[in-house]
Symmetry: C2
Subunit: 399 residues, 2 copies
């Protein structure tokens, strides 16, 4: 299958590109490499030493695998995107090309605006470009479970049948996004649903949980293929951050009471879910939503799991409840379906002690690369960021 992967230089995108190329698909990555520039802007770095795209792709070819094509372009540039689609004639387009950090989107107005424009303008461009040049291709778009927020009813996969005053309809599941990043994802989903209804495009929206893990089978094959792994207060997500903290002897930073429950999955399941979605394309005119996760945990239980495994490894681990920088419910009901991907054959890799141990071990391997100053959260949902705390901002407006 000819597959165009937008955002193939990022954490999920890179792992997915290799996974698909290893299965002999004809993969093209389109990426502006902006993710690396965000690291520079924030003064942070991936725990793992990632290589340049050229080095990555050369190492992949040296494995004797099917080469991956690379187009350095921004999907926000409509002409460049159209050109890539005309050139590669994709049967499927996987769109990972998004600013994916909620804290980044909450730094200030400029970062909120940049997130909205990067994510929703690229999404809009992909839809119009597909309409013009690839109307039969299957769009696989990375959404997030965070689009739903934490409603007091079970979360369905994209749509819910509502009985109301004696009538009934199946409607988009109500969304309650919790940051400008999450808002952009909801807007994307609405745009895609519209494009399927009006233009007959086929699309699968993968509402993904929080991804954890360092390696997939393919990224582990050579040092040049290693994937990025973020632990900083802006791009680092809960479990990855906890494992780095355990490796370092830093307290595990649970935000607030820690009763926040979220959906999780291993990066090895992410790449498998992408493959499963691609293998069974949505029919023309269909907007298909899969909730892409394997387990749910409260943040506190996740920290306790890391604490327990860390101690088994002989580490000193303790949990700190730090002031929650976000505005979110800290105790709430949480239940969500994830049956669609299981029905397609997903066999979940669960979060065992061994998985946690291997993540802590990976963090210890790269211990010398850790910048302790980047671990604590600095971006607060309420109150503007103080410049003194953030070396990376020089906007006049941040006082």
């Amino acid at each position: 299958m000819r597959i165009l992967i937008i955002g193939g230089d990022g954490y999920c995108g890179w792992a997915s590109a290799l996974h698909l190329a290893a299965r002999n698909h004809d993969v093209t990555i389109l990426d502006s490499l902006v993710r690396r520039r965000w690291d520079c802007e924030l003064g942070v770095s991936t725990l793992t030493p990632i290589h340049s795209m050229t080095e990555r792709l050369e190492a992949w070819e040296r494995q004797g695998e099917r080469p991956i094509r690379f187009i350095e372009a921004d999907a926000a540039d409509y002409a460049a995107l159209c050109d890539a689609i005309v050139t590669t004639q994709p049967e499927a387009i996987v769109n990972f090309g998004q600013q994916r950090s909620a804290p980044y989107s909450m730094i200030d107005r400029d970062h909120a605006a940049a997130t909205m424009i990067n994510n929703s303008l690229c999404n809009l461009n992909v839809l119009w470009a597909m309409r013009e040049f690839a109307p039969g291709a299957h769009l696989v778009k990375l959404g997030t479970m965070g689009e739903y927020g934490t409603p007091n009813i079970e979360i369905e996969e994209g749509f819910i049948t509502i009985e109301h005053k004696g009538r009934r309809d199946t409607l988009p599941f109500p969304k309650q996004p919790g940051s400008f990043y999450h808002l952009s994802k909801v807007a994307d989903s609405d745009q895609i649903y519209f494009a399927t209804r009006v233009w007959g495009l086929r699309a699968t929206d993968l509402n993904q949980g929080v991804v954890y893990g360092v390696h997939t089978e393919e990224t582990a094959r050579a040092p040049e293929l290693i994937n990025r792994f973020d632990y900083d207060g802006v791009f680092g997500t809960a479990l990855n951050r906890f494992c780095v903290q355990a490796a370092l002897g830093h307290p595990l930073t649970v935000y607030g009471r820690g009763g926040q429950t979220r959906a999780f999955l291993n990066i090895t399941d992410t790449v498998r879910c992408i493959e499963l979605a691609l293998q069974s394309p949505a029919p023309a005119g269909k907007f298909r939503v899969f909730n892409q996760f394997t387990q749910t945990f409260s943040v506190l239980n996740l920290a306790r799991h890391v604490e327990r495994v860390g101690k088994m490894l002989g580490l000193r681990v303790r949990i700190d409840h730090v002031e929650n920088p976000r505005v979110e419910r800290e105790t709430h009901f949480y239940s969500s379906l994830n049956t669609n991907l299981l029905a397609l054959g997903l066999e979940p890799v669960l979060l065992t002690d061994e998985v946690v141990a291997s993540m802590i071990e990976s963090a210890r391997t790269f211990r010398s690369r850790i910048d302790r100053a980047q671990i604590m959260p600095k971006v607060r949902w309420k109150g503007l960021v103080r410049r003194s705390e953030l070396g990376f901002l020089d906007s006049e407006r941040v006082g």
Copy 2:
């Protein structure tokens, strides 16, 4: 009350600015005058001869009324917007600053992107600027009934209580927007709801129906105060367009079967609704949604009403069913609540024969200004616009 009106040069904005200034509020208009440029771009013109902003404001002062301040600036320019808010210290901000035509947003990718960026970036800017410089002000935002689409259940005002698998929650009413314009409005509503939850802003989202009518009490007072009135295939809305067609002897253009039912209100009720919303501000932290309309009609019934009144006036009127340029249901259930504004004291001006007759008479007054070539719809939801039909486009991409 100190009121900043963003988009005060447009159809609803201008009428509202005068209505509020006549009631002795301290009104500032912020507008980039882009609405006039869109007319130039499309080669169309308002039926009524509107005057420059300077002439408008001078004529208003000559009425002995409280002067209206004018800031020529684009709300997409964050620094200019912040400056206006710091200068005027508004107690309320009314945001009409939006590209409001569904067909305009469907012309091509560039117009879809421009609509998204104009509407959602301005909305995002207003929220961040309020957070920084006017956290206590009341935001009144023009939404649209079109955000809801046409669900098969009754449309509530913004939120719906859902019972699902033995649990219950009150959640945002599911939206099914039908164009990139409507998508931008849904994204705006989501952003505003978020800002009220997280920052404690106070906001009222007015999901307005289709507005009709030429004059309000204030715009009728002097020729220089006359409001714009659009009848063209891009900016003209159903009833206004039918009245112009009747005045001209052009068949009334009903799109498809005409069973599309929509919510409507008179421009004289629009200005009153804005006033009512401002008089009873939403409490801090509250996202309040009012469905702002007075009656619902199917497009065919609306055309029949104009046909009947036109014949009473001695005109030859006939109805043509033209191919529907949009993708929408042509027969469907439609019922919506509008109790919030009625509870605040709105006394609807209903669509009587006299109202229709006065609109047709207005159209006859300006008959010589009508460009027949602009009446038929040219923008199709499916299939790209053909350049040969649209004098106004010179994008290379439109083939």
